[in-house]
């Protein structure tokens, strides 16, 4: 049955390869090369995109050309975004389509520098990404009347270590481990995980502009399927997947290391498993979309509710 499915998929891919030959999809991940994007690197390196009959090129953002600006300028056709980011962008008037949802859980945490429960640090200076993640944190701080003084940063580790911050936001697969590597001790007390406190909103997904998507639906689906296959392969072959990641890391001269990327891959894959179904669902959950929208509208981050239907393919 499975064999037949693959055969069928290949036949379909070949039949479309001719028509979509000239259309290259440039995919720009949100951040520099790291294990957060393993599935796409795997799909490219293992030829899954080619097999799917879709021409994909991965181009990372640069300081002068962040992912979103590349999408807007049509320099790339697909990018990864966090759900909250996507909703903000849609609210801002650019229509997006989620063609693949990878994250099923929220990865954001608050780490206290004072070995305190972040919920007790009223009025604390808390680091937040200058590039606009952390909407949920702001919602939470308002709801909990924490009165945080938000400090927008480019990098938080050095500030945190130097004692310039009382606490900082971090992604459990990235900054969290950077802090650990810098010798910060993590305890149950000084780490606040949003997912455990009613803020379990999905994050990374692959988005295209609805404009582009409407013209390249088939390509987009094949791209999404091949990407999904890349992720699933990574689950089955974590070591080989990590090797592929490190190739991209070295190619882009990223100041990180294999240990860090291994931890990140493990955590990212973990976040892909739905808490309730225990499955990699690769889909947006309407309830999470609704909850995120509600929170952001409530805190005036959205001017209106952005619905599930607005996000998905149709």
């Amino acid at each position: 049955m499975k064999k037949m499915f693959i055969l069928l998929a290949v036949m379909i891919a070949m039949s479309h390869a001719v028509t979509a030959q000239d259309e290259t999809i440039v995919f720009t991940p949100q951040w520099t090369a790291q294990a957060q994007f393993t599935g796409y690197y795997v799909a490219e390196a293992m030829g899954f995109y080619r097999e799917a009959g879709v021409d994909v090129r991965i181009e990372h953002p640069s300081p002068t050309q962040p992912a979103m600006s590349r999408l807007r300028n049509n320099q790339c056709q697909a990018t990864t975004l966090q759900l909250c980011q996507a909703m903000e962008i849609i609210d801002g008037g650019i229509l997006l389509v989620n063609i693949l949802q990878t994250s099923m859980n929220n990865a954001m945490v608050i780490v206290s520098a004072r070995d305190q429960d972040p919920l007790t640090q009223k009025g604390a200076r808390v680091g937040i990404w200058s590039v606009g993640f952390g909407q949920l944190a702001i919602c939470m701080s308002i709801k909990e009347h924490l009165d945080y003084e938000w400090v927008r940063f480019a990098h938080n580790v050095n500030l945190f270590v130097a004692g310039a911050l009382d606490a900082t936001l971090a992604m459990s697969y990235n900054e969290y481990y950077q802090l650990v590597q810098a010798g910060i001790k993590m305890t149950d007390k000084n780490v606040y995980r949003f997912c455990d406190h009613g803020y379990n909103v999905q994050e990374d997904g692959v988005y295209m502009t609805r404009e582009y998507y409407s013209e390249h639906k088939d390509q987009a689906r094949r791209f999404a399927e091949a990407s999904k296959r890349g992720w699933e392969w990574a689950v089955e072959h974590p070591d080989e997947a990590l090797d592929i990641v490190m190739k991209y890391v070295d190619m882009n001269n990223i100041a990180t290391n294999r240990v860090m990327q291994q931890l990140m891959l493990q955590e990212v894959l973990r976040l892909q498993v739905d808490r309730e179904s225990k499955q990699r669902e690769f889909r947006l959950r309407p309830d999470m979309v609704q909850e995120a929208s509600r929170l952001m509208v409530e805190n005036k981050m959205l001017s209106r509710e952005v619905t599930y239907e607005e996000l998905i393919e149709n």
């Binding site: 050309q65 200058s130 927008r152 050095n158 810098a182 290391n257 240990v259």
Partner: protein
């Protein structure tokens, strides 16, 4: 191995040398151990001070440059704060900073968003070297929002000047990057509000190179980490900026490395000993000025202690070789010194084999060996002398032993050798044995028959050996002498005691049991002088009750008591000396009376209590008990069984006469008739008639005082073997048998009228026996009958 140990045991020289050398080795090892330990400490201290010096020097150099940066930055800040409203002059300040300090990397004076409204959101006066020239531009853009950068945020948030963590400064124009660290401080307006930041950067390539070059030992290397533990200097360049000091500990926990990381992060200075990359290493670390960085020099111990270890091995080698040489020389020297001893041992062996005249080597030495040789010579002489004496003594002893053997034969010869059995006698049978502990002993026994009486004695002289044997001989001959004319044991013992005591100068004594068994009646008279009570074995087993008389030989005046008992037919009297009850086995246990009784009881049960059987069984029991142990005392046993068979079947008649000699003819007629009844011839009849008449007349004359009336009963009885006359009267005690015999060889003039009667009685009859019982005198005369009768 065993052979080696055996060899060492045999060789004194090897053993002594080994001990000395082992002791020396222990001392050396201890001394060297202390020395090596201290030397190692010294080397370690040396290494520490060397590393510390390097660290201090580097730190100082860094400090001096940092100081210049800080002073220059302060100057600029002073200028900027005086002209906070003139945006363009910021370019001048920024530029002059680099102009005045060509070794600085760049300088920017950056302001808060929209501080100069005409300049827009971003305003930063940025100056940088480009080749040989200096370029000043307006920095900051949407793609470079400097106010989110570390260098801008850090002084702002901390509200004090500070050095940033090193970072790669990317020059977009040339796409080159340089590792820099920046000194940043805030700029404030007159109201004290923070309006911007002055950032002065310094390339730390020179610093990296300086630190990398620090190499106090061939395999040592240096590292530098930032506040976050990130490596900025490391021999493995792939780690630089990519890994922190903690990265590896996430994979493999390493508490030492973690502790080092924390110590360096905290800006501490010190040294740690730890295991890095498979090597024991010393890590010397020290913070680098105010940069928040810390440098460390990692020195493998093998490097630090290389020359020390080489020296140590050399010394150990020399000591080992020295000890082996010492062992060799010691063995040689001691062997040489002990050589005389070996020769002495050989000579001693010769002497030991019996050649007492062997010549001893003369060593001409005065030390211990000389003394030993001298003593040995003396010993040899003494030995020769002693052996001579021994030979003489042995010869003398042989003579004495020979004498003793002869004495032993003589002594045993004194004792009766022929014991009457049932075949010999119809009234009693007897057996005895005497086993001396030494050649001659102090035990004695004796017996003989007189008339119809068995006289017997058993005795034990105090002490052993020759003195006891002499005393025994005296006792035995005294017994014979006294009992020849005394029939009562108390009298016999009393007289013997007086006789012996008179001539006893050595205070010896003898325990003695003397018994006289009247064979016709079974009446036993006895006197026990301190001897073991005999056993009676017959209807049962019991001790003969004995008065407690003293032994014979030391109280001449003692009057010994007489006892009497009836011995029934078949009863055996068992007499013994304490050599039986006190016979000892190897465990010093004694045979004891219980065992004597057991053996006797067994013998009685088996009806084997005839004298010879009884003594043989007793002897066997003693041998079995004693086993191989040496006999401790003389052992003497005597058994007497009364077997009287009173079957006067042929004839029995009697006559009673008054004590009148006129009745003699009736007597003679009675006797003649009796004799004729058993068929005696005339001569024998005549002899018997005379004998009986003498006996009866004696009674008439002596038993009854003159004028007193009394009857005399004469019984005649006969069986197949003898004719017996028993003369019974109830007059005063009178024993004719103790009258001394007449000398029939005397001339007529010398002959006495009296004494003939007893003589005739003895001559004419086969036996005469007197017995006083139940206040009557009983005299028995026996005549054997020939077969033809």
């Amino acid at each position: 191995m065993n052979r080696i140990i055996a060899y060492i045991r045999r060789k004194l020289s090897v053993r002594v040398s080994l001990r000395v050398v082992v002791s020396a080795a222990i001392l050396f090892v201890a001394a060297l151990g202390i020395m090596f330990y201290q030397a190692r400490e010294a080397v370690s201290q040396e290494a520490i001070s060397r590393a510390t010096q390097i660290l201090d020097k580097t730190s100082l150099r860094v400090d001096s440059i940092l100081n210049r940066v800080e002073v220059a930055s302060d100057m600029t800040k002073w200028l900027v704060e005086r002209h906070t409203n003139q945006a363009d002059s910021m370019f001048v300040y920024s530029r002059s900073m680099l102009e005045n300090n060509p070794d600085f990397y760049n300088c920017s004076v950056a302001f808060e968003p929209y501080y100069f409204e005409e300049k827009g959101r971003y305003f930063s006066a940025y100056t940088k070297h480009v080749g040989d020239s200096i370029r000043t531009i307006q920095g900051g853009s949407d793609s470079y929002q400097y106010f989110f950068a570390d260098w801008y945020l850090m002084p702002k948030l901390l509200d004090r000047p500070c050095w940033t963590e090193p970072y790669f400064d990317l020059d977009v124009a040339t796409n080159t990057s340089e590792m820099v660290t920046s000194y940043c401080q805030t700029v404030k307006d007159r109201q004290g509000r923070m309006i911007g930041v002055i950032n002065t950067s310094l390339s730390i390539n020179w610093l990296s190179k300086t630190i990398s070059a620090v190499k106090p030992y061939p395999h040592s290397y240096s590292i530098m980490i930032g506040r976050g533990g990130t490596y900025f200097v490391h021999p493995d360049t792939t780690k630089i900026t990519r890994q922190t000091i903690f990265t590896q500990t996430l994979e493999q926990p390493d508490t030492a490395m973690t502790a080092l990381g924390y110590a360096m992060q905290r800006g501490e200075e010190g040294v740690k000993q730890m295991y890095i990359n498979g090597k024991d290493s010393y890590v010397f670390y020290k913070p680098l000025g105010r940069t928040g960085c810390s440098m460390a020099i990692v020195c493998p111990e093998s490097d630090i202690f290389r020359s020390f270890d080489r020296l140590q091995n050399t010394i150990m080698g020399i000591v080992a070789v020295g000890l082996l040489l010492m062992l060799y020389f010691f063995i040689r020297i001691i062997t040489f010194e002990l050589d005389p001893l070996r020769r002495l041992a050989t000579e001693a062996e010769t002497i030991a084999s019996g050649q007492f005249d062997a010549e001893l080597p003369d060593f001409q030495r005065v030390d211990e060996i000389g003394q030993l040789s001298h003593s040995f010579g003396n010993m040899q002489q003494s030995l020769v002398k002693y052996i001579d004496e021994l030979k003489k003594t042995t010869a003398q002893k042989a003579t004495i032993e020979s004498d003793l053997r002869i004495a032993s034969k003589i002594q045993l010869g004194m004792l009766p050798e022929k014991f009457p059995t049932r075949a010999d006698r119809d009234d009693v049978q007897l057996f005895a044995s005497l086993t001396p502990a030494k050649e001659v002993g102090g035990d004695l026994f004796d017996f003989y028959f007189r008339d119809e009486k068995l006289f017997f004695c058993i005795g034990d002289v105090s002490g052993k050996g020759v003195p006891a044997s002499l005393f025994m001989a005296v006792t035995r001959s005294t017994f014979r002498t006294v009992s020849a004319h005394e029939s009562m044991p108390d009298r016999i013992v009393t007289i013997m005691n007086k006789t012996i005591a008179d001539m006893n100068k050595n205070h010896m004594f003898v325990t003695l049991f003397v018994g006289v068994l009247d064979l016709p009646t079974g009446r036993l008279h006895y006197c026990n002088a301190g001897h073991d009570a005999p056993l009676l074995i017959g209807a049962g087993i019991g001790e003969l009750p004995c008065d407690s008389n003293i032994p014979v030989g030391f109280m001449p005046q003692w009057k010994f008591s007489l006892q009497e008992a009836q011995i029934f037919i078949g009863t055996t009297i068992f007499l013994f000396t304490d050599g039986l009850t006190e016979a000892m086995n190897a465990n010093k246990a004694q045979f004891q009376m219980e065992r004597v009784n057991e053996v006797a009881a067994r013998a009685l049960d088996n009806q084997q209590h005839e004298p010879r059987q009884l003594i043989e069984q007793m002897t066997d029991a003693v041998h079995q008990f004693v086993g191989d142990a040496e006999q401790s005392d003389d052992l003497t046993m005597m058994a007497i069984q009364y077997i009287w068979q009173n079957n006067d079947a042929r004839m029995r008649k009697s006559i009673t006469l008054p004590n009148d000699i006129q009745e003699v003819p009736q007597l003679n007629a009675f006797v003649e008739e009796a004799c004729q009844t058993v068929g005696l011839d005339e001569i024998d009849t005549m002899k018997i008639k005379v004998a009986v008449e003498e006996a009866v007349v004696n009674v008439m004359k002596y038993a009854y005082p003159s004028g007193e009336r009394g009857d005399i009963t004469i019984e005649a009885a006969s069986n197949d073997v003898r004719l017996k006359f028993t003369i019974i009267d109830s007059g005063k005690p009178f024993d004719p048998t103790v009258q001394s015999a007449v000398d029939t060889s005397l001339s007529a003039q010398e002959r006495k009228i009296g004494g003939l009667g007893i003589h005739i009685m003895r001559q004419n009859m086969d036996s005469i026996n007197y017995e006083r019982s139940d206040n009557r005198n009983v005299l028995t005369l026996r005549k054997k009958l020939n077969k033809k009768n």
